[in-house]
């Protein structure tokens, strides 16, 4: 059934179709509509779940951990400062190997306060042991939301997962979305079976225990193994999803790359603009390709090496910044390339922070620098569409 829904509703419907049993959540712009819609679905009797209103995101994640430890399917949603407030609890969810799924309305972090899109919130949670998926559209938000449960709950994985949908560009934008039938999602996901030790008075166990130095590293190594194994499980789940629902997902989605000299790497909603931009460049005979990164954790090193190996320049276009280094995707991709004998030149482009639009002009600037990089040195990290003069004045440099 085709419906017209906003990105936040994609996440809410993914939870409904996955028959999520507990939703602890605290509202925050731009993902407020997720708990709002879920409350509505529950109140209308359309969804059978317990909604737990809490006093902060820290408590939302804590309650999610408690519910998941009981052995039920749990979903929640947040964004930006809310996700940052959850930070320490996120490690506990992954360390306890609880397959919680969380929708994130990707938003900038203060200061200055800003409610619009960039990927800083999720990127800053890179090392918390959660899998990370980034959606290009509301359809992807829904599909990845459903698939995230299957991947997270797989006996070989047991790790929590975040699904990012871009603030406003997706969260508040109405798009046509194919809503799968309940019975098809039931078939796909199967009944929820917790493949882990749960809180059960009949079978007492200790969850969230102490780990002395002589054991701690083994538990961390377990998480490392799980994240590595997740790579294959993600492929399997993506394939099965395509067979059943006809929509194709890949950790790294390449387009126009065969003979491409310059390949743009994008994430999230900016991919749609970039696709059209690249299509037009192709019409002009320019050898430019596009690679969409859908999965950031686990980082798909193998696929990226394979797909990008013949490019001359790889232009990473990203909505996050690690001050003192560059973009997070650039950092990871550079180290991914470090083991290749013949490797493309890699150039970083910081764009669209705090909801600044990513337009054809933005991408034109990117490609201009990337073309230059084919035969001369260019800056490692390039800030695009920034009034640099004003900043230099403010910093007393002009």
């Amino acid at each position: 059934m085709k419906v017209m829904i906003r990105g936040n509703e994609s996440i809410a419907y993914a939870f409904k179709l996955a028959r999520v049993q507990v939703v602890p959540a605290y509202p925050i712009t731009p993902s407020t509509l997720v708990p709002e819609k879920i409350s509505e679905l529950i109140a209308n009797g359309e969804m059978k779940a317990e909604f737990v209103p809490v006093e902060s995101e820290h408590s939302a994640m804590s309650a999610a951990i408690g519910a998941s430890a009981k052995g039920v399917r749990v979903g929640t949603a947040t964004a930006s400062q809310g996700l940052a407030l959850m930070h320490e609890v996120l490690f506990i969810a992954s360390g306890m190997r609880l397959p919680i799924v969380m929708g994130i309305g990707n938003r900038a972090l203060s200061a200055p306060i800003n409610i619009w899109c960039d990927h800083q919130d999720m990127m800053s949670q890179r090392d918390t042991g959660w899998m990370q998926f980034y959606a290009e559209s509301n359809q992807e938000g829904l599909d990845l939301g459903i698939m995230a449960f299957k991947i997270a709950e797989d006996e070989r994985v047991l790790l929590p997962a975040m699904v990012g949908i871009d603030a406003f560009v997706l969260t508040h934008t109405v798009e046509p979305v194919e809503l799968p039938e309940q019975k098809d999602v039931d078939d796909f996901l199967g009944e929820f079976v917790p493949h882990y030790v749960t809180l059960d008075p009949q079978n007492p166990a200790t969850l969230g225990s102490f780990g002395f130095p002589e054991h701690f590293m083994e538990f961390k190594y377990g998480q490392w193994i799980a994240m590595e194994r997740a790579k294959k499980v993600i492929d399997e789940v993506f394939e099965e999803f395509e067979e059943r629902f006809g929509r194709k997902y890949m950790k790294v989605y390449p387009e126009f790359v065969e003979d491409a000299e310059i390949i743009l790497v994008t994430m999230g909603s900016m991919t749609s603009t970039t696709r059209e931009f690249v299509r037009r460049l192709r019409e002009q005979g320019k050898k430019v390709g596009l690679v969409k990164l859908t999965v950031f954790r686990p980082f798909p090193k193998e696929e990226l090496r394979e797909i990008l190996k013949n490019a001359k320049v790889v232009a990473v276009v990203e909505r996050n910044i690690s001050f003192g280094f560059g973009g997070a995707v650039y950092a990871e991709l550079s180290s991914t390339f470090s083991r290749m004998k013949e490797k493309p030149k890699i150039v970083d482009f910081i764009v669209g922070l705090g909801g600044r639009d990513i337009t054809f002009n933005t991408l034109n600037s990117v490609v201009e620098i990337a073309e230059k990089a084919m035969h001369e040195e260019v800056d490692e990290v390039n800030w695009i569409d920034v009034n640099k003069e004003a900043v230099l004045k403010a910093e007393g440099l002009l």
């Binding site: 360390g95 306890m96 190997r97 609880l98 047991l158 882990y196 030790v197 079978n203 007492p204 166990a205 200790t206 969850l207 969230g208 225990s209 780990g211 054991h215 083994e218 538990f219 377990g222």
Partner: protein, 105 residues
Amino acid sequence: MEVITRGAVIPEPGNSVENKTGTWRVFKPIIHYEKCIRCLICWQFCPEPAILLYEDEETKKKTPAPKEPLKRLPVVEIDYDYCKGCGICYNECPVNAIEFVKEEK
């Protein structure tokens, strides 16, 4: 029991007895029974609890006491397997019947 499990879960309950916390002790409390008036204050205060209570006639009778009639009352004993040596009993005893000495290892 396997120590390394997924998510650091301890699937078998009641295993904390295996962890002999007495090894953590730096100072050791010693009850001098000839001073102990069997008030049970240390027994109430011990956070572990590592002070055990004996109510059977045999232990009550055979344990020394400052006065013979006190032997009608229950008597305490320190369980050194789990006493962490916090010193609370030593601090609380109203008649200074508990000595607190450096642990010899």
